[in-house]
Symmetry: C2
Subunit: 295 residues, 2 copies
DNA sequence: TCCATTCTCTGACTTTAGTCAGATTCTTTG
DNA sequence: CAAAGAATCTGACTAAAGTCAGAGAATGGA
Protein backbone atom coordinates (compact mmCIF):
# COMPACT_ATOMS: atom_id res chain seq x y z
CA UNK A 1 0.00 0.00 0.00
CA UNK A 2 1.08 3.54 -0.73
CA UNK A 3 3.20 5.14 2.00
CA UNK A 4 1.52 8.48 1.49
CA UNK A 5 -1.92 6.99 1.94
CA UNK A 6 -0.82 5.40 5.18
CA UNK A 7 0.72 8.61 6.39
CA UNK A 8 -2.55 10.40 5.68
CA UNK A 9 -4.55 7.81 7.57
CA UNK A 10 -2.24 8.20 10.53
CA UNK A 11 -2.49 11.97 10.54
CA UNK A 12 -6.24 11.59 10.34
CA UNK A 13 -6.26 9.20 13.28
CA UNK A 14 -4.21 11.56 15.35
CA UNK A 15 -6.33 14.62 14.75
CA UNK A 16 -9.62 12.82 15.02
CA UNK A 17 -8.76 10.97 18.21
CA UNK A 18 -8.05 14.31 19.81
CA UNK A 19 -11.24 15.93 18.62
CA UNK A 20 -13.50 12.97 19.26
CA UNK A 21 -11.70 11.93 22.43
CA UNK A 22 -12.52 15.25 24.03
CA UNK A 23 -16.11 14.46 23.25
CA UNK A 24 -15.84 11.17 25.06
CA UNK A 25 -14.38 12.78 28.13
CA UNK A 26 -17.29 15.17 28.29
CA UNK A 27 -19.59 12.27 29.08
CA UNK A 28 -17.97 12.29 32.50
CA UNK A 29 -19.53 15.70 33.13
CA UNK A 30 -22.66 14.03 34.36
CA UNK A 31 -20.75 12.41 37.19
CA UNK A 32 -21.08 8.87 35.97
CA UNK A 33 -18.23 6.62 34.80
CA UNK A 34 -17.82 6.36 31.06
CA UNK A 35 -18.77 2.70 30.98
CA UNK A 36 -22.13 3.32 32.63
CA UNK A 37 -22.83 6.38 30.51
CA UNK A 38 -22.11 4.50 27.30
CA UNK A 39 -24.26 1.61 28.40
CA UNK A 40 -27.19 3.83 29.31
CA UNK A 41 -26.89 5.62 26.01
CA UNK A 42 -26.78 2.32 24.17
CA UNK A 43 -29.91 1.09 25.93
CA UNK A 44 -31.60 4.23 24.68
CA UNK A 45 -35.24 5.19 24.89
CA UNK A 46 -36.37 1.95 23.28
CA UNK A 47 -34.51 -0.46 25.52
CA UNK A 48 -32.35 -3.36 24.42
CA UNK A 49 -31.56 -6.97 25.27
CA UNK A 50 -28.58 -7.66 27.48
CA UNK A 51 -27.27 -9.92 24.77
CA UNK A 52 -27.30 -7.21 22.15
CA UNK A 53 -25.66 -4.74 24.51
CA UNK A 54 -22.89 -7.17 25.18
CA UNK A 55 -22.28 -7.67 21.49
CA UNK A 56 -22.38 -3.99 20.64
CA UNK A 57 -20.15 -2.79 23.45
CA UNK A 58 -17.94 -5.86 23.61
CA UNK A 59 -18.44 -6.40 27.33
CA UNK A 60 -17.89 -9.41 29.52
CA UNK A 61 -21.16 -10.97 30.68
CA UNK A 62 -20.29 -10.53 34.33
CA UNK A 63 -19.21 -6.96 33.87
CA UNK A 64 -22.38 -6.07 31.97
CA UNK A 65 -24.51 -7.61 34.65
CA UNK A 66 -22.83 -5.45 37.25
CA UNK A 67 -23.21 -2.29 35.18
CA UNK A 68 -26.90 -3.00 34.65
CA UNK A 69 -27.32 -3.48 38.36
CA UNK A 70 -25.68 -0.15 39.02
CA UNK A 71 -27.92 1.70 36.55
CA UNK A 72 -30.89 -0.05 38.10
CA UNK A 73 -29.82 1.08 41.56
CA UNK A 74 -29.70 4.64 40.24
CA UNK A 75 -33.29 4.25 39.13
CA UNK A 76 -32.40 4.81 35.49
CA UNK A 77 -33.39 1.48 34.00
CA UNK A 78 -35.26 -1.66 34.80
CA UNK A 79 -34.25 -5.11 33.70
CA UNK A 80 -36.98 -7.66 33.15
CA UNK A 81 -36.96 -11.24 31.87
CA UNK A 82 -37.51 -11.27 28.13
CA UNK A 83 -40.36 -12.81 26.21
CA UNK A 84 -40.65 -15.39 24.88
CA UNK A 85 -37.23 -16.45 26.20
CA UNK A 86 -36.97 -15.44 29.86
CA UNK A 87 -33.22 -15.98 29.86
CA UNK A 88 -32.65 -13.08 27.50
CA UNK A 89 -33.19 -10.18 29.81
CA UNK A 90 -34.32 -6.88 28.51
CA UNK A 91 -33.19 -3.50 29.86
CA UNK A 92 -35.34 -0.44 29.32
CA UNK A 93 -35.09 3.10 30.58
CA UNK A 94 -37.40 4.43 33.28
CA UNK A 95 -38.77 7.95 33.00
CA UNK A 96 -35.77 9.24 34.93
CA UNK A 97 -33.56 7.18 32.69
CA UNK A 98 -35.07 8.62 29.56
CA UNK A 99 -34.47 12.12 30.86
CA UNK A 100 -30.87 11.22 31.56
CA UNK A 101 -30.44 9.76 28.09
CA UNK A 102 -31.89 12.92 26.62
CA UNK A 103 -29.33 14.90 28.62
CA UNK A 104 -26.49 12.82 27.17
CA UNK A 105 -28.02 13.30 23.78
CA UNK A 106 -28.06 17.05 24.19
CA UNK A 107 -24.46 16.88 25.36
CA UNK A 108 -23.47 15.01 22.22
CA UNK A 109 -25.28 17.55 20.07
CA UNK A 110 -23.61 20.43 21.82
CA UNK A 111 -20.20 18.89 21.38
CA UNK A 112 -20.76 18.05 17.76
CA UNK A 113 -21.82 21.64 17.23
CA UNK A 114 -18.73 22.90 19.01
CA UNK A 115 -16.56 21.02 16.54
CA UNK A 116 -18.15 22.95 13.69
CA UNK A 117 -18.65 26.27 15.40
CA UNK A 118 -15.30 27.92 14.69
CA UNK A 119 -15.62 27.38 10.93
CA UNK A 120 -17.33 29.65 8.45
CA UNK A 121 -20.40 28.17 6.71
CA UNK A 122 -18.57 27.18 3.52
CA UNK A 123 -15.82 25.30 5.33
CA UNK A 124 -18.36 23.82 7.69
CA UNK A 125 -20.27 22.39 4.77
CA UNK A 126 -17.07 20.97 3.32
CA UNK A 127 -16.16 19.38 6.64
CA UNK A 128 -19.58 17.81 7.01
CA UNK A 129 -19.45 16.47 3.46
CA UNK A 130 -16.00 14.99 4.00
CA UNK A 131 -17.15 13.43 7.26
CA UNK A 132 -20.01 11.81 5.40
CA UNK A 133 -17.63 10.38 2.86
CA UNK A 134 -15.26 9.08 5.53
CA UNK A 135 -18.11 7.61 7.52
CA UNK A 136 -19.52 5.79 4.54
CA UNK A 137 -16.23 4.43 3.26
CA UNK A 138 -14.97 3.43 6.70
CA UNK A 139 -18.23 1.58 7.20
CA UNK A 140 -17.68 -0.12 3.88
CA UNK A 141 -14.21 -1.16 4.96
CA UNK A 142 -15.59 -2.50 8.23
CA UNK A 143 -17.93 -4.94 6.52
CA UNK A 144 -16.89 -8.51 7.24
CA UNK A 145 -17.67 -11.36 4.91
CA UNK A 146 -17.77 -14.91 6.23
CA UNK A 147 -19.42 -18.28 5.54
CA UNK A 148 -22.75 -18.76 7.29
CA UNK A 149 -25.21 -21.64 7.55
CA UNK A 150 -27.95 -20.82 5.00
CA UNK A 151 -30.60 -21.78 7.54
CA UNK A 152 -29.51 -19.21 10.15
CA UNK A 153 -31.90 -16.44 11.04
CA UNK A 154 -29.62 -13.83 9.49
CA UNK A 155 -29.14 -15.76 6.27
CA UNK A 156 -32.90 -16.17 6.02
CA UNK A 157 -33.41 -12.48 6.64
CA UNK A 158 -31.13 -11.68 3.70
CA UNK A 159 -32.80 -14.22 1.44
CA UNK A 160 -36.23 -12.93 2.39
CA UNK A 161 -35.22 -9.34 1.62
CA UNK A 162 -33.66 -10.48 -1.62
CA UNK A 163 -36.80 -12.31 -2.72
CA UNK A 164 -39.01 -9.39 -1.84
CA UNK A 165 -36.82 -7.16 -3.94
CA UNK A 166 -36.98 -9.57 -6.89
CA UNK A 167 -40.77 -9.69 -6.60
CA UNK A 168 -40.73 -5.91 -6.76
CA UNK A 169 -38.40 -5.56 -9.70
CA UNK A 170 -39.15 -8.51 -11.98
CA UNK A 171 -41.70 -7.72 -14.66
CA UNK A 172 -43.93 -10.65 -13.80
CA UNK A 173 -43.11 -10.64 -10.08
CA UNK A 174 -41.24 -13.43 -8.34
CA UNK A 175 -42.47 -16.41 -6.39
CA UNK A 176 -39.83 -17.93 -4.10
CA UNK A 177 -41.80 -21.17 -4.03
CA UNK A 178 -41.53 -21.42 -7.82
CA UNK A 179 -37.77 -21.03 -7.67
CA UNK A 180 -36.64 -24.54 -6.92
CA UNK A 181 -33.12 -23.77 -8.16
CA UNK A 182 -31.35 -23.50 -4.84
CA UNK A 183 -32.89 -25.03 -1.72
CA UNK A 184 -30.97 -24.24 1.47
CA UNK A 185 -29.37 -27.70 1.53
CA UNK A 186 -27.71 -27.05 -1.85
CA UNK A 187 -26.06 -23.90 -0.50
CA UNK A 188 -24.27 -25.62 2.39
CA UNK A 189 -21.13 -27.77 2.31
CA UNK A 190 -20.26 -30.09 0.75
CA UNK A 191 -22.33 -29.10 -2.29
CA UNK A 192 -22.37 -25.37 -1.86
CA UNK A 193 -21.63 -22.43 0.36
CA UNK A 194 -23.49 -19.46 1.72
CA UNK A 195 -21.65 -16.31 2.75
CA UNK A 196 -22.94 -13.38 4.71
CA UNK A 197 -21.66 -9.81 4.88
CA UNK A 198 -22.00 -8.14 8.25
CA UNK A 199 -21.52 -4.58 9.43
CA UNK A 200 -21.21 -4.31 13.18
CA UNK A 201 -22.96 -7.64 13.57
CA UNK A 202 -25.93 -6.70 11.36
CA UNK A 203 -26.33 -8.53 8.04
CA UNK A 204 -25.92 -6.25 5.01
CA UNK A 205 -25.52 -8.66 2.15
CA UNK A 206 -25.10 -12.24 1.03
CA UNK A 207 -24.06 -14.57 -1.76
CA UNK A 208 -23.96 -18.30 -2.42
CA UNK A 209 -22.32 -21.04 -4.41
CA UNK A 210 -23.99 -24.20 -5.66
CA UNK A 211 -22.43 -27.27 -7.26
CA UNK A 212 -23.41 -28.04 -10.86
CA UNK A 213 -20.80 -30.75 -11.42
CA UNK A 214 -17.29 -31.48 -10.11
CA UNK A 215 -15.71 -28.73 -12.17
CA UNK A 216 -18.56 -26.26 -12.35
CA UNK A 217 -20.19 -24.10 -9.73
CA UNK A 218 -23.04 -21.63 -9.91
CA UNK A 219 -23.21 -18.22 -8.29
CA UNK A 220 -26.56 -17.54 -6.57
CA UNK A 221 -28.22 -15.01 -4.29
CA UNK A 222 -25.77 -12.17 -4.57
CA UNK A 223 -27.49 -9.32 -2.78
CA UNK A 224 -26.61 -6.11 -0.97
CA UNK A 225 -28.93 -4.38 1.48
CA UNK A 226 -30.09 -1.03 0.05
CA UNK A 227 -28.37 1.15 2.69
CA UNK A 228 -25.05 -0.55 1.91
CA UNK A 229 -25.16 -0.02 -1.84
CA UNK A 230 -22.58 1.99 -3.72
CA UNK A 231 -19.78 0.72 -1.52
CA UNK A 232 -18.44 -2.02 -3.77
CA UNK A 233 -19.87 -4.67 -1.52
CA UNK A 234 -21.38 -6.85 -4.26
CA UNK A 235 -17.99 -6.98 -5.92
CA UNK A 236 -16.35 -8.04 -2.67
CA UNK A 237 -18.96 -10.75 -2.18
CA UNK A 238 -18.36 -11.96 -5.72
CA UNK A 239 -14.58 -11.97 -5.25
CA UNK A 240 -14.97 -13.95 -2.07
CA UNK A 241 -17.28 -16.46 -3.73
CA UNK A 242 -14.74 -16.95 -6.50
CA UNK A 243 -11.97 -17.54 -3.97
CA UNK A 244 -14.10 -20.08 -2.13
CA UNK A 245 -15.05 -21.72 -5.42
CA UNK A 246 -11.39 -22.16 -6.22
CA UNK A 247 -10.85 -23.78 -2.84
CA UNK A 248 -13.78 -26.10 -3.51
CA UNK A 249 -12.21 -27.26 -6.74
CA UNK A 250 -14.46 -25.54 -9.27
CA UNK A 251 -12.71 -24.42 -12.46
CA UNK A 252 -15.69 -22.68 -14.00
CA UNK A 253 -18.43 -20.51 -12.53
CA UNK A 254 -21.77 -19.87 -14.11
CA UNK A 255 -24.71 -17.68 -13.23
CA UNK A 256 -27.97 -16.39 -14.61
CA UNK A 257 -29.71 -13.06 -14.21
CA UNK A 258 -33.01 -11.40 -14.93
CA UNK A 259 -33.13 -8.56 -17.45
CA UNK A 260 -34.46 -6.22 -14.76
CA UNK A 261 -31.19 -6.42 -12.83
CA UNK A 262 -29.10 -4.11 -14.98
CA UNK A 263 -26.53 -3.28 -12.30
CA UNK A 264 -25.85 -7.00 -11.92
CA UNK A 265 -25.02 -7.32 -15.61
CA UNK A 266 -22.53 -4.50 -15.35
CA UNK A 267 -20.95 -6.09 -12.28
CA UNK A 268 -20.52 -9.50 -13.90
CA UNK A 269 -19.10 -8.11 -17.12
CA UNK A 270 -16.66 -5.97 -15.21
CA UNK A 271 -15.63 -8.97 -13.13
CA UNK A 272 -14.67 -10.90 -16.25
CA UNK A 273 -17.79 -12.99 -16.89
CA UNK A 274 -18.80 -13.50 -20.52
CA UNK A 275 -22.29 -14.10 -21.75
CA UNK A 276 -23.13 -17.64 -22.84
CA UNK A 277 -26.22 -19.50 -23.98
CA UNK A 278 -28.94 -20.73 -21.68
CA UNK A 279 -27.58 -23.48 -19.41
CA UNK A 280 -30.56 -24.02 -17.17
CA UNK A 281 -34.34 -23.82 -17.21
CA UNK A 282 -34.76 -21.07 -14.60
CA UNK A 283 -38.00 -19.37 -15.64
CA UNK A 284 -36.84 -16.02 -14.25
CA UNK A 285 -33.52 -15.93 -16.13
CA UNK A 286 -32.90 -13.93 -19.29
CA UNK A 287 -29.15 -13.90 -19.54
CA UNK A 288 -26.45 -16.41 -18.65
CA UNK A 289 -22.79 -15.86 -17.85
CA UNK A 290 -19.65 -17.88 -17.33
CA UNK A 291 -16.13 -17.31 -16.06
CA UNK A 292 -13.15 -19.64 -16.04
CA UNK A 293 -11.29 -19.24 -12.76
CA UNK A 294 -7.57 -18.52 -12.89
CA UNK A 295 -5.07 -20.87 -11.25
CA UNK B 1 -26.58 25.13 13.61
CA UNK B 2 -28.20 22.79 11.13
CA UNK B 3 -29.63 19.62 12.67
CA UNK B 4 -28.54 17.55 9.71
CA UNK B 5 -24.97 18.73 10.04
CA UNK B 6 -24.95 17.79 13.68
CA UNK B 7 -26.43 14.40 12.93
CA UNK B 8 -23.71 13.80 10.36
CA UNK B 9 -20.99 14.77 12.82
CA UNK B 10 -22.43 12.35 15.34
CA UNK B 11 -22.59 9.49 12.86
CA UNK B 12 -19.03 10.29 11.92
CA UNK B 13 -17.94 10.22 15.55
CA UNK B 14 -19.60 6.89 16.09
CA UNK B 15 -18.05 5.15 13.11
CA UNK B 16 -14.64 6.68 13.56
CA UNK B 17 -14.40 5.93 17.27
CA UNK B 18 -15.01 2.29 16.44
CA UNK B 19 -12.44 2.14 13.67
CA UNK B 20 -9.79 4.17 15.44
CA UNK B 21 -10.54 2.68 18.85
CA UNK B 22 -9.72 -0.78 17.57
CA UNK B 23 -6.43 0.66 16.49
CA UNK B 24 -5.77 1.96 19.96
CA UNK B 25 -6.43 -1.42 21.53
CA UNK B 26 -3.80 -2.96 19.31
CA UNK B 27 -1.14 -1.01 21.15
CA UNK B 28 -1.69 -3.47 23.96
CA UNK B 29 -0.26 -6.21 21.74
CA UNK B 30 3.22 -5.34 22.88
CA UNK B 31 2.34 -6.25 26.46
CA UNK B 32 2.56 -2.74 27.84
CA UNK B 33 -0.34 -0.72 29.23
CA UNK B 34 -1.79 1.87 26.89
CA UNK B 35 -0.64 4.78 29.03
CA UNK B 36 3.00 3.70 28.88
CA UNK B 37 2.82 2.91 25.19
CA UNK B 38 1.36 6.29 24.37
CA UNK B 39 3.94 8.04 26.49
CA UNK B 40 6.85 6.18 24.90
CA UNK B 41 5.47 6.97 21.47
CA UNK B 42 5.09 10.62 22.39
CA UNK B 43 8.67 10.82 23.65
CA UNK B 44 9.71 9.53 20.26
CA UNK B 45 13.17 9.19 18.81
CA UNK B 46 14.02 12.82 19.55
CA UNK B 47 13.06 12.91 23.20
CA UNK B 48 10.89 15.49 24.91
CA UNK B 49 10.64 17.51 28.10
CA UNK B 50 8.47 16.15 30.90
CA UNK B 51 6.60 19.42 30.85
CA UNK B 52 5.70 19.10 27.20
CA UNK B 53 4.63 15.50 27.64
CA UNK B 54 2.32 16.48 30.45
CA UNK B 55 0.75 19.17 28.34
CA UNK B 56 0.33 17.01 25.27
CA UNK B 57 -1.07 13.97 27.03
CA UNK B 58 -2.91 15.85 29.75
CA UNK B 59 -1.35 13.88 32.59
CA UNK B 60 -1.04 14.59 36.29
CA UNK B 61 2.53 15.44 37.29
CA UNK B 62 2.72 12.59 39.77
CA UNK B 63 1.29 10.11 37.31
CA UNK B 64 3.71 11.14 34.58
CA UNK B 65 6.63 10.82 36.93
CA UNK B 66 5.60 7.27 37.74
CA UNK B 67 5.15 6.36 34.10
CA UNK B 68 8.58 7.74 33.24
CA UNK B 69 10.10 5.74 36.05
CA UNK B 70 8.48 2.60 34.71
CA UNK B 71 9.76 3.15 31.18
CA UNK B 72 13.18 3.87 32.65
CA UNK B 73 13.09 0.62 34.61
CA UNK B 74 12.34 -1.19 31.35
CA UNK B 75 15.48 0.34 29.87
CA UNK B 76 13.54 2.18 27.20
CA UNK B 77 14.28 5.76 28.13
CA UNK B 78 16.52 7.87 30.29
CA UNK B 79 15.48 10.99 32.07
CA UNK B 80 18.11 13.64 32.69
CA UNK B 81 17.97 17.13 34.19
CA UNK B 82 17.42 19.68 31.45
CA UNK B 83 19.67 22.52 30.45
CA UNK B 84 19.74 25.34 31.14
CA UNK B 85 16.95 24.74 33.67
CA UNK B 86 17.69 21.57 35.61
CA UNK B 87 14.13 21.41 36.93
CA UNK B 88 12.72 20.75 33.49
CA UNK B 89 13.72 17.15 33.02
CA UNK B 90 14.17 15.71 29.61
CA UNK B 91 13.28 12.16 28.60
CA UNK B 92 14.93 10.53 25.61
CA UNK B 93 14.80 7.04 24.20
CA UNK B 94 17.68 4.60 24.61
CA UNK B 95 18.67 2.35 21.72
CA UNK B 96 16.28 -0.29 23.00
CA UNK B 97 13.65 2.39 23.37
CA UNK B 98 14.09 3.57 19.82
CA UNK B 99 13.64 0.02 18.58
CA UNK B 100 10.47 -0.28 20.61
CA UNK B 101 9.17 3.00 19.26
CA UNK B 102 9.90 1.79 15.75
CA UNK B 103 7.89 -1.35 16.52
CA UNK B 104 4.91 0.75 17.62
CA UNK B 105 5.36 2.79 14.51
CA UNK B 106 5.24 -0.30 12.33
CA UNK B 107 2.15 -1.43 14.20
CA UNK B 108 0.44 1.88 13.49
CA UNK B 109 1.34 1.59 9.82
CA UNK B 110 -0.02 -1.92 9.63
CA UNK B 111 -3.26 -0.92 11.26
CA UNK B 112 -3.70 2.13 9.09
CA UNK B 113 -3.19 -0.13 6.09
CA UNK B 114 -5.75 -2.59 7.41
CA UNK B 115 -8.36 0.18 7.47
CA UNK B 116 -7.86 0.71 3.76
CA UNK B 117 -7.23 -2.88 2.71
CA UNK B 118 -10.82 -4.02 2.08
CA UNK B 119 -11.49 -1.17 -0.36
CA UNK B 120 -10.78 -1.15 -4.07
CA UNK B 121 -8.19 1.42 -5.22
CA UNK B 122 -10.72 4.00 -6.37
CA UNK B 123 -12.65 4.00 -3.10
CA UNK B 124 -9.42 3.89 -1.17
CA UNK B 125 -8.27 7.05 -2.89
CA UNK B 126 -11.58 8.72 -2.13
CA UNK B 127 -11.36 7.73 1.53
CA UNK B 128 -7.83 9.05 1.86
CA UNK B 129 -8.80 12.31 0.19
CA UNK B 130 -11.81 12.73 2.48
CA UNK B 131 -9.63 11.95 5.50
CA UNK B 132 -7.25 14.67 4.40
CA UNK B 133 -10.09 17.14 4.17
CA UNK B 134 -11.47 16.19 7.57
CA UNK B 135 -8.05 16.33 9.16
CA UNK B 136 -7.35 19.77 7.78
CA UNK B 137 -10.69 21.27 8.65
CA UNK B 138 -10.84 19.73 12.10
CA UNK B 139 -7.40 21.14 12.75
CA UNK B 140 -8.67 24.50 11.59
CA UNK B 141 -11.58 24.24 13.99
CA UNK B 142 -9.21 23.31 16.81
CA UNK B 143 -7.21 26.52 16.52
CA UNK B 144 -7.64 28.65 19.61
CA UNK B 145 -7.26 32.39 19.55
CA UNK B 146 -6.43 34.25 22.74
CA UNK B 147 -4.72 37.42 23.98
CA UNK B 148 -1.02 37.02 24.60
CA UNK B 149 1.71 39.32 25.95
CA UNK B 150 3.50 40.61 22.85
CA UNK B 151 6.86 40.01 24.54
CA UNK B 152 6.30 36.27 25.08
CA UNK B 153 8.54 33.83 23.25
CA UNK B 154 5.67 32.61 21.10
CA UNK B 155 4.50 36.08 20.17
CA UNK B 156 8.07 36.96 19.24
CA UNK B 157 8.36 33.81 17.15
CA UNK B 158 5.29 34.83 15.18
CA UNK B 159 6.50 38.40 14.72
CA UNK B 160 9.91 37.15 13.64
CA UNK B 161 8.38 34.83 11.05
CA UNK B 162 6.10 37.62 9.88
CA UNK B 163 8.98 40.05 9.43
CA UNK B 164 11.03 37.47 7.56
CA UNK B 165 8.13 36.90 5.23
CA UNK B 166 7.70 40.63 4.62
CA UNK B 167 11.43 40.95 3.87
CA UNK B 168 10.96 38.17 1.33
CA UNK B 169 7.88 39.55 -0.35
CA UNK B 170 8.24 43.33 -0.30
CA UNK B 171 9.86 44.70 -3.43
CA UNK B 172 12.52 46.59 -1.54
CA UNK B 173 12.79 44.14 1.34
CA UNK B 174 11.74 44.96 4.90
CA UNK B 175 13.78 46.11 7.85
CA UNK B 176 12.05 45.52 11.20
CA UNK B 177 14.29 48.15 12.78
CA UNK B 178 12.99 50.73 10.29
CA UNK B 179 9.39 49.92 11.19
CA UNK B 180 8.88 52.00 14.29
CA UNK B 181 5.09 51.84 13.90
CA UNK B 182 4.29 49.30 16.59
CA UNK B 183 6.78 48.64 19.37
CA UNK B 184 5.77 45.81 21.70
CA UNK B 185 4.61 48.21 24.40
CA UNK B 186 2.00 49.70 22.02
CA UNK B 187 0.48 46.28 21.43
CA UNK B 188 -0.24 45.54 25.09
CA UNK B 189 -3.04 46.89 27.28
CA UNK B 190 -4.08 49.56 27.90
CA UNK B 191 -3.05 50.98 24.52
CA UNK B 192 -3.27 47.87 22.42
CA UNK B 193 -3.65 44.13 22.31
CA UNK B 194 -1.77 41.20 20.87
CA UNK B 195 -3.58 37.95 20.11
CA UNK B 196 -2.09 34.60 19.28
CA UNK B 197 -3.62 31.64 17.44
CA UNK B 198 -2.53 28.25 18.70
CA UNK B 199 -3.01 24.74 17.38
CA UNK B 200 -2.30 22.10 19.99
CA UNK B 201 -0.18 24.59 21.90
CA UNK B 202 1.94 25.61 18.90
CA UNK B 203 1.59 29.16 17.58
CA UNK B 204 0.12 29.31 14.07
CA UNK B 205 -0.80 32.94 13.67
CA UNK B 206 -1.16 36.33 15.30
CA UNK B 207 -2.69 39.77 15.07
CA UNK B 208 -2.60 43.01 17.02
CA UNK B 209 -4.44 46.21 17.81
CA UNK B 210 -2.89 49.59 18.49
CA UNK B 211 -4.50 52.76 19.75
CA UNK B 212 -4.52 55.77 17.40
CA UNK B 213 -6.88 57.91 19.46
CA UNK B 214 -9.79 57.25 21.83
CA UNK B 215 -12.15 56.32 19.03
CA UNK B 216 -9.73 54.85 16.53
CA UNK B 217 -7.66 51.70 16.58
CA UNK B 218 -5.25 50.24 14.08
CA UNK B 219 -4.95 46.63 12.99
CA UNK B 220 -1.35 45.38 12.86
CA UNK B 221 0.63 42.18 12.42
CA UNK B 222 -2.10 39.93 11.06
CA UNK B 223 -0.21 36.82 10.04
CA UNK B 224 -0.90 33.11 9.50
CA UNK B 225 1.84 30.48 9.51
CA UNK B 226 2.20 28.97 6.02
CA UNK B 227 1.08 25.44 6.99
CA UNK B 228 -2.15 26.87 8.44
CA UNK B 229 -3.14 28.88 5.37
CA UNK B 230 -6.31 28.27 3.45
CA UNK B 231 -8.25 27.54 6.61
CA UNK B 232 -9.87 30.91 7.11
CA UNK B 233 -7.62 31.64 10.05
CA UNK B 234 -6.73 35.23 9.07
CA UNK B 235 -10.41 36.03 8.92
CA UNK B 236 -10.96 34.59 12.36
CA UNK B 237 -8.06 36.61 13.73
CA UNK B 238 -9.51 39.73 12.14
CA UNK B 239 -12.97 39.02 13.54
CA UNK B 240 -11.52 38.53 16.98
CA UNK B 241 -9.54 41.76 16.76
CA UNK B 242 -12.69 43.63 15.79
CA UNK B 243 -14.57 42.16 18.74
CA UNK B 244 -11.77 43.13 21.11
CA UNK B 245 -11.61 46.59 19.54
CA UNK B 246 -15.29 47.04 20.27
CA UNK B 247 -14.70 46.05 23.85
CA UNK B 248 -11.84 48.55 24.07
CA UNK B 249 -14.13 51.34 22.93
CA UNK B 250 -12.88 51.90 19.41
CA UNK B 251 -15.55 52.89 16.89
CA UNK B 252 -13.30 52.88 13.84
CA UNK B 253 -10.48 50.59 12.75
CA UNK B 254 -7.79 51.46 10.27
CA UNK B 255 -4.96 49.54 8.69
CA UNK B 256 -2.36 49.81 5.99
CA UNK B 257 -0.93 47.19 3.66
CA UNK B 258 1.85 46.77 1.15
CA UNK B 259 0.97 46.24 -2.51
CA UNK B 260 2.76 42.86 -2.46
CA UNK B 261 0.19 41.44 -0.03
CA UNK B 262 -2.63 40.83 -2.48
CA UNK B 263 -4.42 38.21 -0.38
CA UNK B 264 -4.58 40.73 2.46
CA UNK B 265 -6.37 43.25 0.26
CA UNK B 266 -8.96 40.68 -0.68
CA UNK B 267 -9.46 39.75 2.98
CA UNK B 268 -9.98 43.32 4.12
CA UNK B 269 -12.37 44.19 1.32
CA UNK B 270 -14.39 41.08 2.00
CA UNK B 271 -14.49 41.92 5.70
CA UNK B 272 -16.08 45.28 4.94
CA UNK B 273 -13.07 47.61 4.98
CA UNK B 274 -13.08 50.42 2.44
CA UNK B 275 -10.03 52.02 0.97
CA UNK B 276 -9.19 55.52 2.24
CA UNK B 277 -6.34 57.97 1.76
CA UNK B 278 -2.97 57.74 3.45
CA UNK B 279 -3.37 58.23 7.20
CA UNK B 280 0.18 57.53 8.33
CA UNK B 281 3.75 57.78 7.13
CA UNK B 282 4.60 54.07 7.12
CA UNK B 283 7.23 53.82 4.37
CA UNK B 284 6.15 50.23 3.56
CA UNK B 285 2.46 51.02 3.07
CA UNK B 286 0.79 51.48 -0.31
CA UNK B 287 -2.89 51.20 0.53
CA UNK B 288 -4.95 52.27 3.54
CA UNK B 289 -8.29 50.94 4.75
CA UNK B 290 -10.94 51.80 7.30
CA UNK B 291 -14.00 50.18 8.81
CA UNK B 292 -16.61 51.61 11.12
CA UNK B 293 -17.50 49.03 13.74
CA UNK B 294 -21.15 48.15 14.21
CA UNK B 295 -22.88 48.60 17.55
C1' DT C 1 21.60 35.73 50.63
C1' DC C 2 16.86 34.74 51.29
C1' DC C 3 12.31 33.83 49.70
C1' DA C 4 8.78 32.81 46.67
C1' DT C 5 8.04 30.10 42.74
C1' DT C 6 8.46 26.36 39.54
C1' DC C 7 9.00 21.67 38.53
C1' DT C 8 9.31 17.00 39.65
C1' DC C 9 9.09 13.09 42.83
C1' DT C 10 7.09 9.98 46.41
C1' DG C 11 3.70 7.71 49.08
C1' DA C 12 -0.88 6.70 50.00
C1' DC C 13 -4.96 6.59 48.16
C1' DT C 14 -9.53 5.77 45.05
C1' DT C 15 -12.05 4.64 41.08
C1' DT C 16 -12.74 2.36 36.88
C1' DA C 17 -12.41 -1.39 34.00
C1' DG C 18 -12.07 -5.80 33.32
C1' DT C 19 -11.41 -11.14 34.10
C1' DC C 20 -12.74 -15.69 35.55
C1' DA C 21 -14.89 -19.56 37.76
C1' DG C 22 -18.75 -21.41 39.36
C1' DA C 23 -23.89 -20.97 40.62
C1' DT C 24 -28.50 -20.14 39.13
C1' DT C 25 -32.40 -19.94 36.15
C1' DC C 26 -34.68 -20.96 32.02
C1' DT C 27 -35.28 -23.42 27.45
C1' DT C 28 -34.84 -27.00 24.18
C1' DT C 29 -34.24 -31.62 22.78
C1' DG C 30 -34.10 -36.49 22.89
C1' DC D 1 -39.00 -35.70 32.18
C1' DA D 2 -34.05 -35.71 32.38
C1' DA D 3 -30.06 -33.80 30.44
C1' DA D 4 -27.71 -30.56 27.80
C1' DG D 5 -27.19 -26.02 26.61
C1' DA D 6 -27.95 -20.94 26.84
C1' DA D 7 -28.08 -16.64 29.28
C1' DT D 8 -27.20 -14.26 33.15
C1' DC D 9 -25.64 -13.46 37.94
C1' DT D 10 -22.44 -13.46 41.93
C1' DG D 11 -18.19 -13.34 44.31
C1' DA D 12 -13.45 -12.80 44.34
C1' DC D 13 -10.02 -11.14 42.03
C1' DT D 14 -6.34 -7.94 39.24
C1' DA D 15 -4.48 -4.25 36.61
C1' DA D 16 -4.67 0.25 34.98
C1' DA D 17 -5.56 4.94 35.50
C1' DG D 18 -5.79 8.72 37.99
C1' DT D 19 -5.76 11.98 42.29
C1' DC D 20 -3.78 14.52 46.01
C1' DA D 21 -0.80 16.29 49.55
C1' DG D 22 3.47 17.16 50.84
C1' DA D 23 8.66 16.85 50.20
C1' DG D 24 12.66 18.23 47.76
C1' DA D 25 15.55 20.31 44.31
C1' DA D 26 16.50 24.26 41.27
C1' DT D 27 15.70 28.93 39.80
C1' DG D 28 14.86 34.00 39.60
C1' DG D 29 14.37 38.17 41.75
C1' DA D 30 14.47 41.35 45.80
Amino acid sequence: MDTREIAQVRRFNRVVTQAVGALDQSYLERGRPLGEARLLFEIGADGAEARALRARLGLDAGYLSRLLRSLEAQGLIEVVPGRPDARRRRASATTTGRAEIAAYDALSDRLAASLLAPLDPARRARLVAAMGEVERLLSAAAVEIAPEPPASAEAQWCLGSYFRELADRFEGGFDPAADRSAPAADLAPPNGLFILARLGGEPVGCGALKRIDDATGEIKRVWTAPPARGLGLARRILDRLEAEAGRMGFAVLRLDTNKALTEAHALYLKAGYREIGRFNDNPYAHRWFEKRLAG
